[in-house]
């Protein structure tokens, strides 16, 4: 049976909840070992490896990113910004019993040192059925403002 929209949304809602509540180590377990977390700059790029991105994280880089957020040794992340994100406008682009691709909208509000900022993004997930259940194999966050000047983002989008 193909992966259902309901199962896919349950996983990415869990991811959003973990990230907004600082459960970063739990977040790591949602990804496949070869999974990627990508924040591109170029809105049209698909070959992320060949271009400069904001983030192009394999498992090792995701772990380092989490240690940075939890380690208390980064002045921009001690403590990390607080975030609240809303995901909606889900659309299953393709689905089989092994993998699916889901696209949705994300609106994230950030609060740090008295400044509230917001980021809108189109997010595309490729999810994969594994022995350990449904996992994230690829998450691509295409910020609406990716080609503009951003401010420091010391958390996980």
């Amino acid at each position: 049976m193909s992966i259902t929209l309901q199962d896919a949304v349950a996983l990415i809602a869990l991811e959003a909840d973990l990230l907004d509540h600082g459960a970063f180590r739990d977040w790591l377990t949602l990804y496949t070992p070869d999974g990627r977390y990508v924040v591109p700059i170029d809105p049209d790029v698909e070959d992320f490896e060949s271009v400069l991105n904001y983030a192009y994280d394999d498992a090792a880089m995701r772990e380092k990113r989490v240690e940075r957020l939890l380690g208390g040794r980064s002045i921009s992340a001690a403590p990390p910004a607080r975030t609240v994100r809303l995901l909606s406008r889900y659309r299953m682009l393709e689905t089989t019993d092994a993998t699916c691709t889901l696209r949705c909208a994300q609106h994230l509000m950030e609060l740090r040192q008295g400044r509230q900022r917001d980021y809108a993004a189109n997010v595309t997930y490729r999810l994969k059925n594994t022995d350990g259940g449904l996992k994230i194999d690829l998450k691509v966050i295409r910020l609406l403002t990716a080609t503009e000047a951003l401010t420091a983002v010391s958390y996980i989008l």
């Binding site: 400069l52 991105n53 904001y54 040192q113």
Partner: protein, 427 residues
């Protein structure tokens, strides 16, 4: 007449008044006296390689088009139609045969010549097109770095760069024998004055403090390489506000020490390259991928910083845009350029492991500098043991504030005299 601040009262050789980070009148003076009367970096040659290629950028607050014409000549032109002042181009980059104003259709050539005016008969013969080109700035180039200025009277770029030129040449060795090319950029703003950023690329002192979390994320060998405060490096005043900060002396000349062992973190890359290149070339590429061991600060807006270009643009007295432009080998192996991109992503940009912590520190400087009045910013680190090279350059240890003192000395010259002296024409 407007009562302008007197910069001479705000700066001493070893300190500055905190108001230099926030006084809007001082900022307006800087935009005129510094950004309209000095050479301002606008582009790298590789961004506009072919005739018709252009980018849009800024000289201080002024929007400009940087464009290569049919003869291959680079023009830097104000992005302003001569009719009613609309910008004629809003694309970041592209290729074109002309620039056409969207308002009334005035069309300009790649060199700015006004070529076409719709319904010209409405001017009854009173429009001299030859007198209305896009306003061209003065443009000069050194080793791929393109600079522009509004000022027709200041000495040449060659004279302005002076003693920085050998360092620019060393920096470009990151091409590993190929030309250097740009490979995209991270762009971000921080709520603070541009000079806070100007200081930062000549500040080794902050590195082990601010970048603890970055250092935690790299291997021991890299940590040792970056443990340079208290080491054999130095900061040297190169004149005209420019300076170089050598953090890793072994990585000054990337074509030397080619028999040094390949760092463990590059072992896999080296193995891959060995299939296509002889051992000597592999070592040259690997050293280039790791980047230079120094930051070259070019007053006022460019730093050739270890492995990338840092470009600052003042937005207001209390807001600054920074670009970290990635560079690579034009024609070099893809895997090596990709390795450079991953290294750039690791440290730089709004989601890197280094930049957000820098930005936080600069943000704190700006906010803290508003506390109280008439309290100095200290610029005296390393002054006690500062010495002079035989060629006259002042230098001190790697964590000295010699580079900041150099930049502020030039800041004062620009803010009071409007021009820098040509090499050999006195102090």
């Amino acid at each position: 007449m407007q009562d302008l601040p007197d910069p001479r009262t705000l700066l001493a050789p070893d300190r500055a008044d905190g108001s230099i980070y926030s006084d809007p009148d001082l900022y307006d003076m800087e935009m005129d006296r510094i950004f309209m009367h000095n050479w301002i970096w606008v582009a790298h040659r590789s961004e506009i390689p072919e005739p018709g290629d252009f980018i849009t950028t800024f000289v201080g607050p002024h929007p400009v088009i940087v464009c290569r014409d049919r003869q291959g000549v680079v023009h830097v032109m104000l992005n302003r139609c001569r009719h009613r002042a609309a910008t004629v181009c809003e694309l970041r980059r592209g290729k074109t045969a002309s620039f056409v104003c969207p308002y009334h259709g005035w069309a300009y050539g790649l060199d700015g010549t006004l070529r076409g005016v719709p319904h010209q008969e409405g001017y009854s013969g009173h429009l001299d097109k030859s007198s209305l080109p896009l306003v061209n700035l003065r443009v000069e180039e050194y080793n791929g770095l393109v600079f522009a200025t509004f000022d027709e009277t200041i000495p040449s770029l060659d004279s302005w760069l002076g003693r920085t030129k050998p360092w620019i040449d060393l920096f470009m060795k990151q091409g590993a024998g190929w030309p250097v090319k740009t490979m995209g950029e991270h762009k971000f703003t921080f709520p603070g004055n541009w000079k806070i950023q100007l200081e930062n690329t000549t500040d080794a002192y902050h590195f082990p403090i601010v970048h603890k979390s970055f250092l935690d994320s790299v291997d021991q060998e890299t940590q040792d390489t970056l443990n340079f405060v208290g080491g054999k490096g130095f900061v040297e005043d190169l004149g005209n506000g420019h300076s170089v900060m050598v953090m890793i002396p072994e990585l000054v000349d990337l074509d030397e020490n080619l028999d040094a062992p390949i760092p463990e973190r590059f072992a896999e890359l080296a193995a891959g390259l060995s299939k296509d290149y002889p051992p000597e070339k592999v070592r040259q590429i690997i050293r280039a991928v790791g980047g230079s061991g120094f930051n070259l600060n070019l007053f006022p807006n460019l730093a050739c910083s270890m492995a990338f270009f840092r470009v600052l643009r003042p937005l207001s007295a209390t807001s600054t845009e920074i670009r970290h432009i990635a560079i690579g080998m034009d024609g070099g192996p893809d895997v090596a350029n990709q390795a450079r991109l991953r290294l750039h992503e690791h440290f730089q940009g709004p989601m890197g492991f280094g930049t957000p912590d820098d930005a936080e520190a600069w943000d704190r400087v700006q906010r803290g500098s508003l506390a109280g009045k008439n309290i100095d910013i200290l610029l005296n680190r390393g002054l006690g043991h500062e010495a002079q090279r035989p060629d006259g350059n002042l230098y001190s240890d790697v964590s000295a504030e010699t580079g900041m003192r150099a930049a502020y000395r030039q800041w004062l010259v620009a803010m009071t005299d409007k021009a820098f002296p040509a090499e050999g024409e006195g102090a």
